[in-house]
Symmetry: C2
Subunit: 377 residues, 2 copies
């Protein structure tokens, strides 16, 4: 009887901090199997992953993860609470026993926070500041807990999603060490740096990043096709400029007239960076704008995005991962998708397919049709 | 009382052959004014003009044309008979007395051809060869006339369109000299070459073209932004790949399942040239495929394309051209558009605006809003 511990991650790219979390997860859970539920080609902050999902999944297995399952686009490119909800749902469906995650404050009282959330009504929203900080101020006032750091927020989101499902998962919060999330500079005097600092170093064509990632990630980093937003800019710009306002309004999360700002800025801007600067306001964070841009690019409508996950898509596994898959396959009614055909696209992975097609257009590397899970022997 | 002779042209770019036609038109007609009805930013063969409509119109006026009127996209990017129909309709509406055009065989009996056309029914079409050659074979059999050369075909189309309108225009066919239409090489021992040979020379970064164009075109050629299909390829490709088949089927002239070929080839091709090679079949000429691609790029539906012209849009004029415009403005109910506002876009020039926006995206040079006709003083 195999047992599993889950990790929810982007591995963008897999680095020493992930390695630490992986090792702690295995050790603290005592599980036989480590399952990673990993975003596909588009990240939670509305950016393309630097390497495609296949390469990232393979690097994760090479580093010791036993099984990598794709977190569908509808869960992956969402604010924290929906991201967490989709991933936790998948973990639960897979019979995973515990969920390990990094947190700045792993001793935080998640239950206290869960029971002191504001009611979800629109009157709560203030229009002059992003929703997240309003939410955080409310919690601070009610519980005294400062929920401000990015991994703490995600951790709380996992706990909350788990609570909503009846607590199927045992939570294993693990103290984050060394790296500040999204710190743009590589660490001095530590072997752990943030993924964004590592990406900056990779794009800077320096090799400084190399001590911050395991050996097993180096092949991908040195030889893999690298994506960034500017490669998708001509397509996004064309789409924003030529699509009538009424159609843009149908895109998921296109609210409050932002479509006019996007359309206008697209026409005037010569790069994605310029465009973001032009669109940015106090009310719209870069993250929110970037996510909206991904939705536009891949035609993500509310119907596509507000859905529960309903399939398991393995991207990579080793023998242990395969054993675990075999064990659970009779316990779930969800299909386990290892081959993408036209029918599978129509019935299940339509949005994943459409969104990964963008990477295919940029690099020429097939992403869905003709791709099979990587198996490490 | 001013009188006018019309020329229907693309001026892509204005060259010595156009200069000859212009001089002959003025001389043979005895008119006080030469009006050119010129395609905008997209050509009849489904290609972007090498220079934008403003630069081409200005060069034409600098070479002696008195007034340049834009032939709307709905007429400009069409097979010969519809191209001719739109342009002749505009000439007629403008009170132009005669129409000058080049022809390989200016003595051709257009009336005989007009009265011996096949009935326009579908049974006539053969599916293993392009429609044009079937049509030509039929005419040859009925009249003995070989209607094969490109300027003869256009000339016949003008005559036919004029006939359908009750012959408002006097026809002035003018013998083409020296250049073969679409001959890819510049002429030896002549000062006239085809526009396509001149474009090839310009793109080849040679200065050989310079003796084949009037002095007045040189500024545009040396300093103007140059367009070619490859610049639009990322946008076309994205559009073809991400648009569902049912929506592609709504595009003008998307028939016989060609949408599947286009979509499939778009995904596989890395350049527009590759793409054309992949899509090409005996039944689909390059011209037809290229036109379809423009329709896809600018979202041209049947409703937008099968319309009669209904406005006059001057792009450039000199004092004589302005005098002519003033004379005719009370005789037409069509608006004379010299300023494009949102209302003008909605009511009249929507498709022209959408299609020129593509050039604006590529070069950053405004095409409609904020642009005014060029006036030579």
């Amino acid at each position: 009887m195999e047992t599993a511990v889950g990790i929810i991650a982007e591995f963008n790219p897999f680095h020493n901090g992930h390695q630490y979390l992986l090792d702690q997860a295995r050790k603290q859970s005592g599980a036989t199997t480590v399952v990673a539920i990993m975003s596909g080609n588009w990240m939670q902050r509305g950016e393309p992953a630097i390497f495609d999902k296949w390469k990232r999944a393979q690097a994760a297995v090479a580093a010791g993860v036993d099984l990598v399952i794709e977190l569908p686009f509808s869960g992956a490119v969402q604010p924290a609470h929906l991201f967490a909800k989709s991933a936790v749902k998948i973990a639960s469906e897979m019979g995973i026993e515990s969920l390990a995650f990094g947190a700045e404050h792993p001793d935080m009282d998640y239950d206290l926070l869960i029971h002191n959330q504001p009611e979800k009504d629109d009157s709560f929203k203030k229009f002059n500041e992003p929703y997240a900080s309003t939410f955080q101020n409310y919690l601070k006032e009610k519980t005294g807990i400062n929920l401000r750091e990015p991994n703490d927020i995600l951790a709380f989101s996992y706990a909350n999603a788990n609570f909503d499902l009846g607590n199927p998962l045992k939570l294993l919060p693990i103290q984050r060490i060394d790296a500040d999330h999204n710190e743009p500079e590589l660490s001095k005097g530590s072997l752990i740096s943030s993924a964004s600092a590592i990406r900056n170093s990779i794009f800077g064509n320096s090799t400084e990043f190399s001590k911050f990632v395991p050996e097993s990630s180096l092949h991908m980093i040195y030889s893999g096709f690298k994506y960034d937003w500017e490669q998708f800019w001509p397509m996004l710009r064309y789409e924003l400029v030529k699509t009538p306002i009424e159609e843009l309004q149908r895109i998921y999360q296109m609210t409050e007239g932002i479509e006019h700002r996007l359309k206008d800025a697209a026409r005037k801007s010569r790069s994605f960076t310029d465009f973001l600067e032009t669109v940015k306001t106090k009310r719209y964070t870069y993250t929110r704008i970037q996510r909206l841009c991904v939705y536009v690019l891949v035609h993500a409508f509310t119907d596509n995005m507000l859905v529960d996950p309903s399939y398991l898509r393995p991207l990579a596994f080793n023998e242990q991962g395969q054993r675990y898959l075999n064990q659970i396959k009779h316990d779930t009614e969800w299909p386990i998708i290892t081959k993408v055909t036209d029918e599978v696209v129509d019935e299940f992975v339509g949005l994943d397919y459409r969104s990964s097609m963008m990477q295919e257009l940029v690099s020429g590397e097939a992403q869905d049709i003709h791709r099979h899970p990587f198996m490490e022997i």
